[in-house]
């Protein structure tokens, strides 16, 4: 179990990690979601030991890791650019850690060969052992980087945007394989990514990193359905987030007014943020007669066709942009007229409200 306690890391005037505390469980796939500049890479580098925090502690199973050199931490790091040894073959890249580590190096060449062969089979690199790493494809390099780390049997593996350098269909395949490999080895993977779909798909547990600290850590499904604050909701890229005031149990903002849920209890006049899922909104004509519980009037801007769904953009009178997703499995969506006024209707029970606004 890896614990970070109130870890702060500054680069000059910039605070990359701000009193960050988090606990990463054993034998789990944890994904860490954060926008670029949120401190993702700094966090990994502090855990791996390439950098020391300015304050706070990093510990593993209660033992302090502060001041322990990276090669004595037993934590594997898979680099975003793979960082393979360009002068060595695939096999020698993978064997590097076993042969040359300071603690308990494997001296028996037959043993090294056996372990390398096992891991090569696990990641699917058979037949490429003798190749130079400059003569293999991007996906294969990714596997070498992973195998090179896994063969040393670390207690935890940090993956810095491991799929970022791969093309789309390869990325999907690697997703499945990463999960399968992890389940077989029973080590913890901490997978950093800027993509919310990747984070939710990969992680049993998802942590959202925002402004240098962990905004929420929860199982993927509960994190998605119940974000803890507006910041987390924004990161999930599935919620419209509106800011306004509570008035008589209703949300109130320029051009929008609808009932707020009972929890948390809305205080009259207090600022409140609400999150509304893209796919829980239906679009009705502005002059529709049927009574609706909650509506936001907005003008149609544009649509994006995504294959299985259509994403439409609407703009409220105060300029706020709202997104609506219509899945094509349902009735075919109507086409909207650019600039025309529509009503965005939704069930007020789908509204998630946050009374404590994130700074």
């Amino acid at each position: 179990m890896l614990s970070l306690n109130s870890v702060t890391k500054r680069y000059g005037a910039f605070t990359a990690l701000d009193r960050l505390s988090v606990t990463i469980p054993d034998d789990a796939y944890v994904s860490l979601l954060g926008a670029s500049g949120s401190g993702k890479t700094s966090l990994l580098r502090v855990i791996a030991g390439f950098e020391e925090p300015d304050s706070g502690t990093v510990s593993y199973d209660g033992k302090h890791l502060n001041g322990v050199a990276p090669h004595r931490r037993g934590i594997g790091f898979v680099f975003q650019n793979f960082a393979l040894f360009p002068h060595l073959s695939v096999e020698n890249n993978i064997a590097f850690g076993l042969r040359y580590r300071e603690q308990e190096p494997v001296v028996d060449p037959a043993d090294v060969r056996q372990r390398v062969a096992d891991i090569v089979r696990l990641v699917g690199l058979e037949g490429l052992e003798a190749r130079k790493v400059t003569a293999i494809s991007g996906g294969q390099r990714q596997r070498v980087a992973l195998a090179r780390t896994l063969v040393t049997e670390p207690r935890m593996v940090l993956l810095d945007e491991p799929l970022g350098a791969l093309d789309a269909n390869l990325r999907e395949r690697m997703c499945d394989e990463l999960r399968a490999i992890r389940e077989r080895l029973k080590v913890t993977f901490l997978h950093v990514t800027g993509s919310e779909t990747e984070a939710l798909l990969m992680g049993d547990t998802v942590a959202v990193l925002s402004a240098g600290s962990v905004a929420q850590i929860a199982p993927a499904s509960s994190l998605f359905s119940a974000p803890l604050n507006a910041d987390v909701a924004r990161h999930l890229n599935a919620y419209n987030v509106l800011s306004g005031k509570a008035e008589g149990g209703h949300f109130h903002a320029d051009g929008a007014r609808f009932p707020l849920p009972d929890h948390p209890v809305p205080q009259d006049g207090a600022p409140v943020d609400v999150a509304l899922r893209f796919d829980r909104i239906s679009v009705v004509a502005a002059d529709a007669a049927e009574p609706l519980d909650a509506v936001i009037p907005a003008r149609f801007v544009a649509s994006e066709f995504n294959g299985s769904s259509v994403l439409s953009f609407f703009r409220m009178d105060d300029g706020t942009l709202l997104q609506v997703v219509a899945h094509l499995s349902g009735p075919p969506p109507r086409s909207f007229e650019s600039g025309a006024l529509y009503k965005l209707a939704f069930d007020p029970r789908d509204v998630i409200s946050f009374t404590e606004r994130a700074a």
């Binding site: 990276p70 090669h71 004595r72 594997g76 680099f79 960082a83 393979l84």
Partner: protein, 311 residues
């Protein structure tokens, strides 16, 4: 407009027919060969006139007949026999090789850590360039001044002796500092060290820092990382630096002449003095032997690493 386009097409068809129906790819390849030939011909011409031709001439002249004041194109091996049977000349051949080996080792031992610092520790490119420029500041003065500057440094009443005397480490000035083989080694190492630092720095600065971090993360300590990652990746730079230093040191004569007090006679010094006394045939023999040594050294160095593949 239509007509104009038609003319163009017709012109292209004619051009194709004019070149015996060669495909566009073939014509492009031919064009590129022509361009390449034009680019290399000045260099090839220059080298042929001023390097290959003189070299052949030197080999030829080394077999001419030498009398006291003249040299005649009557072929003989006299000069070769004289060189290869004379202990003096064989000794200076040996001195040349020995001084080359020591200077090469010294420039490597002193230059590599400097390159390690500039190429690997300094990650700011502007600062890197600035530090390399600092390394070549001595080259803003002439070669002879750089060499002669060692005299007030190493002389009997020079800076080093004065300091050692003042500190009470020695009672009488060291006389072996200047006008000795030691002085030649110091002078050459100082002058040629930068040619070792430059290429190694270049190769080291191309190493991705995350590669070194990856090796650390995999559990390797500093020594392993140095010998298994950093050194192999910088080896092409070491070889290029070694070739620079070797070529310059083996052909040296000025440093030896001015710092050894004529005690150290390198092959270069022999050539200079023999040419000075118009012994062209004998100077040619020394020249051929020196050129052969240099060629052998470069061949061996290039065998160590395939520079073309690694750069």
């Amino acid at each position: 407009m239509m007509e104009f386009a038609g003319e163009q097409v017709q012109g292209a068809v004619q051009a194709q027919g004019g070149e015996n129906g060669a495909s566009p790819a073939e014509r492009r390849a031919r064009q590129e060969r022509r361009t390449a030939l034009m680019l290399i011909s000045p260099g090839v011409l220059w080298m042929a006139l001023f390097m290959v031709l003189p070299l052949v001439m030197v080999i030829y002249v080394s077999f001419w007949t030498q009398t006291t004041f003249t040299v005649e194109p009557t072929l003989t091996v006299d000069s070769w026999v004289r060189f290869l049977t004379s202990p003096t000349y064989l000794a200076s051949t040996w001195a040349t090789v020995r001084i080359w080996a020591v200077v090469l080792a010294a420039t490597l031992i002193i230059g590599y850590p400097v390159a390690l610092f500039i190429g690997l520790m300094v990650r700011n490119q502007t600062l890197q360039t600035a530090l390399l420029v600092v390394c070549i500041i001595p080259f803003w003065t002439s070669f002879l001044i750089r060499v002669i500057a060692w005299r007030p440094m190493l002389g009997t009443e020079g800076a080093i002796n004065t300091i050692l005397l003042k500190l009470g480490i020695i009672d009488t000035p060291l006389t072996t500092l200047l006008f000795s083989e030691f002085a030649v080694l110091v002078g050459m190492t100082q002058i040629y060290c930068v040619f070792m630092v430059g290429p190694i720095t270049f190769m080291l600065s191309r190493i991705d820092p995350s590669v070194i971090e990856a090796a650390r993360d995999l559990g390797a300590g500093f020594g392993r990382i140095f010998f298994k990652i950093i050194l192999p990746l910088s080896l092409p730079g070491v070889i290029v630096g070694a070739i620079f230093v070797s070529v310059m040191v083996l052909g040296e004569f000025a440093t030896a002449a001015s710092l050894s007090g004529r005690k150290v006679n390198l092959l270069g010094n022999i050539i200079v003095s023999q040419v000075g006394s118009l012994k062209w045939a004998f100077a040619s023999v020394a020249g051929v032997i020196l050129t052969t040594i240099i060629a052998a050294v470069i061949t061996v160095l290039l065998r160590i690493v395939n520079v073309r593949k690694e750069m």
